[in-house]
């Protein structure tokens, strides 16, 4: 649990972050969104004290972040930045070992951890461990960056536009991978992004920041159906909000008993993708299959459309 109270940052006369209160539940993902200059990065960087707050407090698992030296605090918090920030003169293994080494782990424990993380991130320890960052692809570098941040098993992971430098295909893969790894490790994640799709895809809760003030902190669905202000709707976009809403639910919730001819869809697919598939195939219903390919029911165009309009 991260508890942020009255957190404020002023530079001279300008207030960059203005009295923000935020509760990030343990094991959840919170996305901080906002236009550039909204103070979202500054807010994130005050959590691990890369920026020292002008006022207000941050507690992680009940403990004030000011209770220990900033560098000791940061060793307990994972931090991932855009462009990965890997140390170019250190191998992948050495990069990942950075924090465990500073914490005085034994060599055996560090080696085991490196191998475990590389496998978790789909990298081959035999091939990649001794490579330099420059010898990896952009997507691989990004994964090593996250692996390094998670090396010492932090309970909190902070990410500042972590996928910003990746091309769209690799970015989509990185996002789903992060979601899967987070569900496995139960790490509390705070991610700063200006990409609304990314926020809606990853986050359990979204904090909307504008001019340093927190406009709304809510579940993604609530942001669409009950925006706190016109600025929030402007930021999340109104033209495609019905589709965005559909993207937050899976086929499972709109499913009915029975089966349809022809098209088959997976139960874990988002309603938005299911709608697209139905339109593309020119049919009004599709059979829904479970994880093992067994038929579990059917979904109709009407049922999906009803979900998209359900919140009005």
């Amino acid at each position: 649990m991260i508890e942020i109270d009255g957190l404020t940052k002023r530079y001279g006369g300008t207030t960059v972050v203005d009295a923000v209160d935020l509760r990030v539940p343990t094991g959840s993902i919170t996305a901080i969104v906002g236009t550039s200059g909204s103070g979202k990065s500054t807010l994130l960087r005050m959590i691990n004290r890369l920026v020292e707050p002008s006022a207000g407090t941050v507690r992680i698992d009940g403990r004030l972040t000011t209770e220990e030296p900033a560098h000791a605090l940061r060793r307990r918090i994972g931090y991932v930045i855009q462009g990965n920030g890997l140390f170019p003169h250190r191998t992948v293994a050495e990069n990942i070992a950075t924090v465990p080494r500073m914490l005085g782990w034994s060599d055996v424990r560090i080696a085991a951890r490196i191998e475990q993380l590389l496998l978790l991130f789909g990298l081959d320890p035999q091939i990649h461990a001794q490579r330099l960052p420059a010898e990896l692809s952009g997507g691989q570098q990004q994964r090593v960056g996250v692996a390094r941040a998670l090396a010492a098993g932090p309970s909190v992971l902070l990410m500042d536009e972590p996928f910003g430098a990746l091309d769209p295909i690799i970015r989509a893969k990185a996002q789903t991978d992060l979601r899967a790894i987070q569900q496995q490790l139960k790490t509390t994640i705070v991610i700063v992004t200006h990409d609304m799709d990314e926020a809606f895809l990853l986050a359990d809760r979204i904090a909307v920041l504008d001019n340093g003030r927190l406009l709304q902190y809510d579940k993604p669905t609530r942001l669409l159906t009950a925006p706190a202000s016109a600025q929030v709707s402007a930021l999340t976009g109104t033209a495609d909000r019905a589709l965005r809403l559909l993207s937050l639910d899976t086929v499972m919730v709109a499913m009915a008993p029975g089966h349809a001819d022809g098209l088959q869809l997976s139960a874990s697919m988002s309603l938005r993708d299911a709608l697209s598939a139905l339109i593309w195939a020119g049919v009004r219903a599709a059979t829904v299959c479970g994880a093992d390919g067994e038929v579990v029911g059917q979904v109709t165009l009407e049922a999906i459309l009803a979900r998209g309009a359900a919140h009005q």
């Binding site: 691990n48 890369l50 030296p69 560098h71 000791a72 605090l73 940061r74 060793r75 307990r76 931090y79 930045i81 855009q82 462009g83 990965n84 920030g85 890997l86 140390f87 170019p88 003169h89 250190r90 950075t98 924090v99 500073m102 330099l132 960052p133 420059a134 010898e135 960056g145 390094r148 941040a149």
Partner: protein
Amino acid sequence: MRPATLLRTAVWLSVIAFLWRPSAFAAVFAPFTHDGAPAIYDQGDLADLALAHLGLVLFATALSAVIAVLLAVVVTRGPGRAFLPMSRSLVSIGQTFPPVAVLAVAVPLVGFGSLPALIALVAYGLLPVFENALTGLAELPASVLEAADGVGMDAWQRLWSIELPLAGPLIVEGLRQTLVISVGTATLGSTVAAKGLGEVIIAGLLSDNTAFVLQGGLLTGLMAILLHDAIGRIGAYVLPRQG
């Protein structure tokens, strides 16, 4: 054997052979003497002088490198940043000052011998290392430095394990320039009685013996080339790969 290795070995062997048995090379230098003057420098041991020359150069370069890197580290962080412009001009002045003038100023203060030569060489060698260390430290990628802070390195760990290794190639390049300049400049030290190869050149000039001038000049030049080459190779071995 590759041509570069072959050439390098040949140069090293001829220098060592010449310093070990200078008299064996008398026939080579005889055409440059006249009136029966000696073809090989005979007022001291050439190997001794070359070693003294090398020692002075290495010591002076090590001193200027330590001072220059420390200075560059201090002026690239914290309150030291305020001194960046001042230290830049101070070190530039050190280099615009002719070494002979530094010697002339130093002798009344510290007397004759190796000390005034050392002072001149150290002052003269500061700039290349300082400039390069400054560029190397000031132009590190911001994302790498932010990552170093982000993973919880303290200022010392960040400097030692990230900044200096990454600035290393540039610092070594500056060290190389300083070494080459110092080998040449150190010959002037002989005018204030510092032991070195300058003695051979000066003796040749005074007695109108071109063979002496050639021996001093060649040894100095070859020493500069061999050091330049050696530093490059040591650097490649010591410095981290960066992909």
